[in-house]
């Protein structure tokens, strides 16, 4: 009895598909691509996945809430650059990371302001944000990559490098960070009233507002949280590169959206969860990793990823249509 219930639950859940895709891709790479099996590759896979996961979780929170954030990539870049600047000033690691998260949060608040108070369509508002934040990054850095190595003290530099790519007990530190954040967010979405309200908002904003939910507040906070996650992703990326180029994080908004869709988070809002975003992000990281290892040219990588995202959205569309028709 219990078993069949579990099976039914898994069948109905949106996570089974993405997990299957991930397993298939990993097995495929494991068999066909010898370097994939190397432990150094696994580490680098985890390092890049950690940043993607952070971005994907950010992207998916606004998507679940019925919005979209196209400025995430720019937030990653700006917050990452800010983090580098703080480290260069020999501000300790933790305050620097917190500052990066705050920078992201402020960008998110600006997005939230545009979407709620000014009433702009999220797509356009965050498209504007994408330019604004990237522009500020350019001004701040004078168009130059912000390097940390030659500027920061030995101590600051070491802690930064350790945060970006160090390991504890053989597991990269970024993996701990993303695991902790993922657990927290997942808990927030599933168990708190605020988290549940994000689903209500995404599923039917009218129903939410008619039921006495402060839709403006929830929407605003969703963008702030997304911005903060972008900020954290920026700090992690900066730690890994030990610098921040002006185009850092460029296009990450799409990686995030891409990962969300692959992870079964409906673009229509109100559906999906953090686990999906994580699985989706790891799929993206694996595909990128596999393409790199097989020496696929960067231009072709774009084409291949583009095709995959179209397929994923197509799958999402078909699935939604099916669900809609499956009325009793």
């Amino acid at each position: 009895m219990k078993n069949s219930k579990l099976l039914k639950g898994l069948k109905g859940s949106r996570i089974l598909g993405p997990v299957t895709i991930l397993v298939v891709i990993m097995m495929f790479l494991f068999i066909t691509t010898p370097p994939f099996r190397q432990s150094y590759n696994l580490t680098s896979l985890i390092l890049s996945a950690a940043v993607y996961v952070m971005v994907a979780m950010g992207a998916s929170i606004v998507i679940i809430g019925g919005g979209i954030d196209l400025s995430l990539g720019s937030i990653v870049g700006l917050a990452g650059a800010a983090c580098c600047l703080f480290i260069r000033m020999n501000i300790p690691l933790i305050p620097s990371i917190i500052a990066a998260v705050l920078v992201g949060g402020i960008c998110g608040a600006v997005n939230g302001f545009m979407v709620t108070v000014m009433g702009l369509i999220p797509f356009i508002a965050t498209l504007g944000g994408m330019w604004i934040y990237r522009g500020i990054l350019m001004i701040l850095t004078n168009g130059q990559t912000i390097a940390v190595r030659a500027y920061a003290s030995e101590e600051s530099l070491n802690s930064f490098v350790k945060f970006g790519s160090g390991s504890v007990l053989g597991i990269p530190i970024p993996a701990y960070v993303f695991a902790a954040v993922a657990l927290f967010l997942s808990f927030m979405l599933r168990k708190t009233v605020f988290g549940r309200n994000i689903y209500f908002l995404g599923s039917n904003p009218d129903a939410a507002s008619m039921s006495g939910i402060n839709v403006t507040k929830i929407k605003f906070l969703a963008y702030v949280i997304t911005g903060m996650l972008g900020g954290l992703a920026g700090a992690m990326l900066a730690g890994r590169l030990v610098s921040m180029p002006t185009n850092g994080g460029n296009g990450y908004e799409f990686e995030g959206i891409f990962a969300s869709v692959l992870g079964g988070i409906s673009m229509a809002g109100g559906e999906g969860g953090m686990l999906g975003a994580i699985v989706g992000a790891i799929i993206v990281a694996c595909i990128r990793n596999g393409l790199n290892l097989n020496g696929i040219d960067a231009f072709w990588q774009q084409v291949i990823l583009g095709v995959i995202i179209v397929m994923a959205v197509f799958y999402d569309t078909v699935r939604t249509k099916k669900a809609r028709n499956a009325k009793s």
């Binding site: 599933r190 168990k191 708190t192 009233v193 988290g195 549940r196 689903y199 209500f200 995404g202 599923s203 039917n204 009218d206 129903a207 939410a208 507002s209 008619m210 039921s211 006495g212 939910i213 402060n214 409906s266 229509a268 809002g269 109100g270 559906e271 669900a323 809609r324 499956a326 009325k327 009793s328």
Partner: protein, 502 residues
């Protein structure tokens, strides 16, 4: 005197260009069902939105149990104990029943959502308030419209309000479900709640209403004890003139058979039999909600997948209509049930809405001749007496009746031979209904064949020359003029009676 629960005094509200409410007053006692009636556009919904804090009145005051209150948003209305079941359902389709019941009202244990407790409570609420038994974890999109509505009602009732507003709650309910709802409302009334009941179906008032207030054009007309009035009087007060005939008397000239469809099937439960339409004939399609009328017509016109066995149009066998475009070309047009969802392009203007299906007629080598399209649109605006300020007016600004006429104009522009109407008067006020009926009659006079899908029984009876009755995707009866009668149709539709067809 009885206990006055709510008083709305001198409420005035205008929108740009419209005076929606003009010095309107209204009161509600506890333990009564107070019906609010009036034509569409009379201001009922605006008044209820003011009560619920969606709109702020320009003037006037609201008193709850004698105390003056200001209601700035729905959250404050809920706190005061005001709940509303809206005409357009406010459910979250992607979420489960439990979350839909507790939306905006999630109970927590140690600040966390306690799903198990909520599910238990959902089961109890559904059983106690609406007598429904569905899994609390079922996704709402898998439920029927009626079930969704029950969930809405359970949600509102479970908040333990003092006032519950029902805005056209029975539009998509079957007879049985309506009776069930009426029992629920009676129970709430006994518990001392005040019920405001808005409806177009006056016959429902007979068993429900204690008092009734009539409004017209945003103005207060009269409040009466229901026992002291009749539905005829109410209709007259609503429209402000004598309404002697609900259906125009008409002598129809029925000619030869123009459409003959052998059968329509799909992979689901649609498997309906022969449909015959003659020239100038109005063929009614009756049945309960979900009997397969809309579904089969959508398959016929190629909008949905399914099989159609042999279509004979004007004596010629034609192949299956692959899509709506083909269907329009062969002269069969279908007016959808939901004006707003798939009938109109709401943000576009009236001319565009009228020309949308027949642009080919007004264009040469793909370039639209705007003058011709305008002329055509004007012609229909005049002929159908559509009340508009100009062709540039947006379709969404029109009343339901005028919107329906715009859709009719759209299809008339395609020179159809067969017109399928799906619930053509749903949510339209009495006066506009009469006009639509007259137009349908004129179309039949012009030799068109008409299929009329309607859940409004008097409408089917008043308009049709012949009626097909459907039940669970099958044709269960074909009734000729002499057999068209309410009890007869209902007995077939509910499966009490079966026609012995050879």
């Amino acid at each position: 005197m009885e206990n006055i629960l709510l008083e709305m005094k001198g409420i005035t509200k205008s929108f740009p260009g419209v005076h929606a409410l003009d010095n309107f007053s209204f009161n509600l006692r506890s333990g009564e069902v107070h019906a609010l009636v009036g034509e569409n556009g009379a201001g009922k919904s605006t008044l209820m939105k003011i009560l619920y804090g969606v709109y702020t009145p320009d003037e006037g005051e609201i008193l709850m149990e004698g105390k003056r209150v200001t209601i700035k948003n729905p959250s404050e209305a809920l706190k005061l104990g005001i709940g509303e079941v809206f005409q357009e359902l406010n459910v979250c389709l992607q979420l489960d029943v439990t979350n839909n019941i507790f939306i905006g009202n999630l109970k927590t244990k140690h600040h966390l959502v306690d799903d198990n407790a909520l599910r238990e409570e959902t089961r109890k609420i559904l059983r106690d308030t609406v007598g429904m038994d569905v899994e609390p974890t079922a996704l709402v999109r898998t439920l029927s419209i009626a079930q969704r509505q029950m969930i809405e009602i359970a949600k509102v009732v479970s908040r333990g309000g003092k006032i519950v507003v029902f805005d056209e709650p029975t539009t998509s309910l079957t007879k049985e479900e309506t009776n069930h709802l009426i029992n629920i409302i009676k129970k709430l009334k006994k518990q001392g709640m005040g019920i405001i009941y808005i409806t177009h179906r006056l016959e429902e008032l007979t068993i429900l209403a204690d008092r009734v207030t009539v409004m017209r054009d945003g103005k207060y007309i009269r409040t009466m004890d229901y026992a002291d009035t009749t539905n005829e009087e109410l209709v007259n007060l609503m429209v402000g003139r004598e309404m002697t005939e609900k259906y125009p008397v008409y002598q129809r000239k029925i000619g030869e058979e123009i459409l003959h469809v052998k059968g329509i099937r799909d992979k689901g439960n649609i498997n309906i039999g022969e449909i015959v339409v003659r020239k100038g004939e109005i063929v009614g399609m009756a049945g309960l909600v979900g009997a397969g009328r809309t579904e089969s017509m959508r398959i016929l016109i190629g909008a949905d997948k399914g099989e159609v066995d042999e279509i004979v149009l004007f004596g010629k066998k034609i192949s299956r209509l692959q899509n709506v475009h083909k269907s329009i070309e062969s002269g069969i047009v279908y007016m959808t049930e939901d004006r707003k969802a798939d009938g109109l392009a709401l943000p576009l203007n009236i001319e565009k809405n009228i020309s949308i299906a027949s642009l080919k007629r007004f264009s040469k080598r793909g370039i639209v001749n705007a003058k011709k399209a305008d002329e055509n649109a004007w012609e229909y605006v005049k002929n159908l007496k559509i009340k508009i300020s100009g062709l540039e007016q947006e379709a969404k600004l029109l009343s339901g009746g005028n919107q329906q006429k715009v859709i009719l104009a759209k299809w008339m522009s395609c020179n159809p031979k067969i017109l399928i109407f799906d619930e053509p008067t749903k949510g339209i006020d009495v006066g506009a209904k009469y006009e639509i009926y007259k137009l349908i009659n004129e179309l039949s006079d012009a030799g068109m064949g008409i299929i009329l899908i309607s859940s409004d029984l008097p409408e089917v009876i008043g308009m049709s020359d012949r009626v097909y009755v459907y039940r669970e995707g099958r044709t269960v009866a074909e009734l000729d003029q002499t057999e068209i009668e309410a009890s007869n149709i209902m007995q077939y539709a509910t499966g009490i009676k079966k026609q012995g067809k050879g």
